[in-house]
């Protein structure tokens, strides 16, 4: 695994710092390796994005973690408890949606939650109404699930996760089927869950949503994790782009090129485009502005563009492709 996360793996018990911890986790289906030696570390108390294209092995990893299918190799812990050895204790405080949330169509939303609460501790049944209210479908609780929209089923799935008062929520593509308002609601709810001290692992291929919602991410492709860590740290490792709108782009270009910023400067319509190397500090942007003004160039606008998660993801995966 290639990782940017500079943390020391503790000898974790139930109180360890990781909500999810896997080492060399592998799952094969015949000759195809769906999860390939994954070392995943999800810190407690954050929203963690598990990113990857369709077919990358995201759902398979989740199914292995939850004991829905067996791993072929490797070890894993949930909330510090080894699984599958202590699966019952570990999953008691885990709520999860795998694939899409599916329910008994002939039962109402409330009845479906009653069925699921019955497998949890007795207090779970008492959380049904609060869970329904929290996800905003209490008013439809007595309607049959067959009449629910996809978005409402997603919400009901989250409500099902909340029945166990979970410390860890694992949500597989929770934005699927949601309209923009629903996605915003889901983002807000995930942030509120994290604010309560819970950990939310969010599997998705929607990079933009992950960037808006999560604190840290792991990028998975073809069953392998290729990067993981806090989003800020990951993006700090990407190029810094600066757009400069000025009255004399050619002169500005020569001024900046004569300084040693190790920057690539190109003249574009209405100004300059400057590409600074990976790891460049923001102070350089201010320094460039001073150089231009002192050189007699009128600067109308100067905008730094840090790479988005999407562009970074494409950058990382393209580099990976080149190296292979």
């Amino acid at each position: 695994m290639t990782s940017v996360m500079s943390v020391e793996v503790p000898k974790s018990g139930a109180g360890g710092q990781w909500a999810v911890e896997t080492h060399d986790l592998t799952k094969r289906f015949g000759g195809r390796t769906a999860v390939n030696g994954v070392d995943l570390l999800v810190p407690r108390g954050c929203a963690f994005g598990y990113l990857g294209p369709n077919g990358a092995g995201k759902t398979t990893l989740i199914r292995v973690l939850l004991g829905l299918t067996r791993a072929d190799a490797g070890t894993m812990k949930l909330l510090g408890h080894e699984v599958p050895r202590h699966r019952d204790v570990a999953l008691a405080r885990v709520g999860a949606i795998v694939d899409e949330p599916r329910f008994h169509q002939h039962l109402t939303g409330r009845q479906n939650l009653q069925v699921l609460a019955a497998s949890r501790e007795p207090a779970a049944a008492g959380r049904i109404d609060a869970a329904l209210e929290r996800v905003g479908i209490l008013h439809r609780a007595n309607d049959k699930v067959a009449k629910y929209s996809m978005g409402m089923r997603q919400r009901l799935g989250v409500a099902a996760c909340l029945l166990g008062d979970p410390q860890l929520l694992i949500l597989d593509e929770p934005m699927n089927g949601l309209d923009p308002a629903g996605m915003a609601d889901m983002r807000e709810m995930i942030r509120s869950l994290v604010a309560e001290g819970r950990t939310v692992v969010l599997s998705s291929h929607l990079l933009d949503e992950i960037e808006r919602t999560c604190d840290a991410v792991a990028i998975v492709d073809q069953g392998r994790i290729i990067r993981q860590g806090p989003i800020d740290e990951l993006l700090a490792g990407s190029n810094l782009e600066v757009e400069i709108d000025c009255d004399s782009p050619e002169m500005a270009g020569s001024l900046l090129s004569s300084n040693t910023y190790d920057a690539r400067v190109s003249v574009v319509e209405n100004g300059l485009h400057v590409s600074l190397p990976t790891g460049s500090a923001r102070d350089i942007v201010a320094e460039m502005n001073r150089v231009l003004v002192q050189g007699g160039v009128s600067v109308y606008r100067l905008q730094e563009n840090r790479a988005s998660l999407e562009s970074w993801f494409l950058e990382v995966t393209s580099r990976l492709g080149e190296s292979e």
């Binding site: 019952d88 204790v89 599916r102 069925v115 949890r120 049944a125 929290r134 905003g136 919400r155 509120s192």
Partner: protein
């Protein structure tokens, strides 16, 4: 979806989880209750279950009641011993098994096919417990429905039973003991001698003609019966009475088993037997459907087992495979059938020409084995299946 609706009491600060032994393989009452809820809300299944176990016998008996009310001379009473035995052994036994198997197959597979089983698994609850919860849940639905249908049949057969006993085409007082039956036979010697079955050769050395021709009786012309080339004389009244006593003693056992209405003991035994059959159908269906992970194919297989394979394997003597045939659960159940009911699967009782003989002990062992093996197979598959 906002944090403002959080109930701090219901979502308290994260704490250590109370140990509720959810890894244990035994289901809890709430789990069983939840399965009951899930099953009984399946409207189509419940309608079919009630229709077959209650509706069909009720409809049959209802039609007979109406027909008897409209034309009592043409149509006999709806209830009675014969109606009871025919309904129990002919309809409720076979269809009860099939509908019980359908319920079992549904309980064993819909969680998987509807994708809900995984939601239960991720609670950390033992998969075996999740599976085993289905058994008491299904039986809690099935047993009362079978009992309801059976009680309807019993009620009609008792309260709408004939008031006169028809034995061998003759109206005979019911409930006579042997002495009373013999006395009645003496008083009706002509009818008894001529219409009741008896073994003349071994029972009496009759050297007289019992006057049973169509024109016999006062003023009639007797038919001629010869024995050893000698024409027998018409019987005297004393001879007729003497013969009637012998016939009555021969036929008493048979008469004793002919009833106006089903006796209480037979009803209790039949009810328990039907419940046993339903429990077997449900449990085997549950295990098979869990093993296969689908519903339709196991239902078809169960129907084939009950109405095709079991009748054939119960009566056909296949060389070298007799002991294997004894392992068929339907045959074992047939051997536990209460005396007084017509034999199921077209046989006429154990022995030559009937179903393959089997001891009661072996029948019980076979039934227990089927219940245990199918339950184990279903539990194993649910515990190891990728979901």
């Amino acid at each position: 979806m906002t944090a403002s609706t959080i109930d701090d009491q219901l979502f308290p600060a994260l704490d250590d989880f109370p140990n509720d032994h959810r890894g244990r393989p035994l289901p809890t009452w709430p789990m069983i209750s939840a399965r009951i809820l899930e099953l009984r809300k399946r409207r189509g299944l419940m309608v079919a279950l009630i229709a077959v176990n209650v509706g069909v016998p009720a409809l049959y008996l209802g039609i007979r009641l109406v027909m008897h009310l409209v034309s009592p001379k043409s149509y006999g009473p709806a209830g009675g011993y014969d109606s009871f035995t025919n309904l129990v052994a002919g309809v409720m036994f076979v269809f009860g098994f099939i509908i019980a198997a359908t319920l079992g197959c549904t309980a064993g597979s819909v969680d998987l096919s509807e994708g809900v089983f995984r939601h239960s698994v991720v609670t950390g609850r033992s998969r075996v417990a999740l599976y085993l919860a289905r058994i008491p849940a299904g039986l809690a639905i099935l047993v009362p429905i079978v009992a309801t249908g059976f009680i309807v049949v019993c009620a009609v057969c008792v309260f709408a039973a004939p008031t006169k006993l028809n034995y061998q085409g003759v109206t005979v007082p019911s409930g006579l003991d042997r002495a009373q039956f013999v006395t009645w036979a003496e008083q009706n010697s002509q009818t008894v001698d001529c219409q009741f079955p008896f073994n003349l050769t071994s029972a009496v050395d009759a050297n007289f003609n019992p006057n049973c021709g169509p024109q016999n009786g006062p003023g009639g012309v007797g038919i001629t019966i010869t024995k050893g080339g000698v024409t027998l004389k018409p019987a005297t009244p004393a001879q007729m009475k003497s013969l009637a006593v012998i016939v009555a003693n021969q036929d008493y056992q048979d008469y004793h088993q002919t009833f106006l209405s089903p006796p209480l003991k037979l009803m209790v035994q039949s009810g328990l037997w039907l419940e046993l059959e339903a429990i077997i159908g449900f449990t085997v269906g549950l295990g098979l459907a869990s093993l296969m992970g689908s519903r339709t194919v196991p239902i078809v297989l169960m129907i084939i087992l009950e109405i095709v394979l079991t009748p054939i394997l119960s009566v056909a003597r296949i060389p070298h495979l007799i002991n294997l045939q004894r392992g068929v659960v339907g045959l074992a159940t047939a051997h536990l059938e209460p005396n007084g009911l017509p034999r199921v699967f077209g046989g006429h009782g154990p022995g030559a020409g009937g179903i393959i003989p089997e001891s009661t002990t072996l029948a019980v062992i076979v039934i227990m084995a089927w219940l245990v093996v199918w339950t184990t197979l279903g539990a194993w598959r649910m515990a190891t299946r990728d979901v």
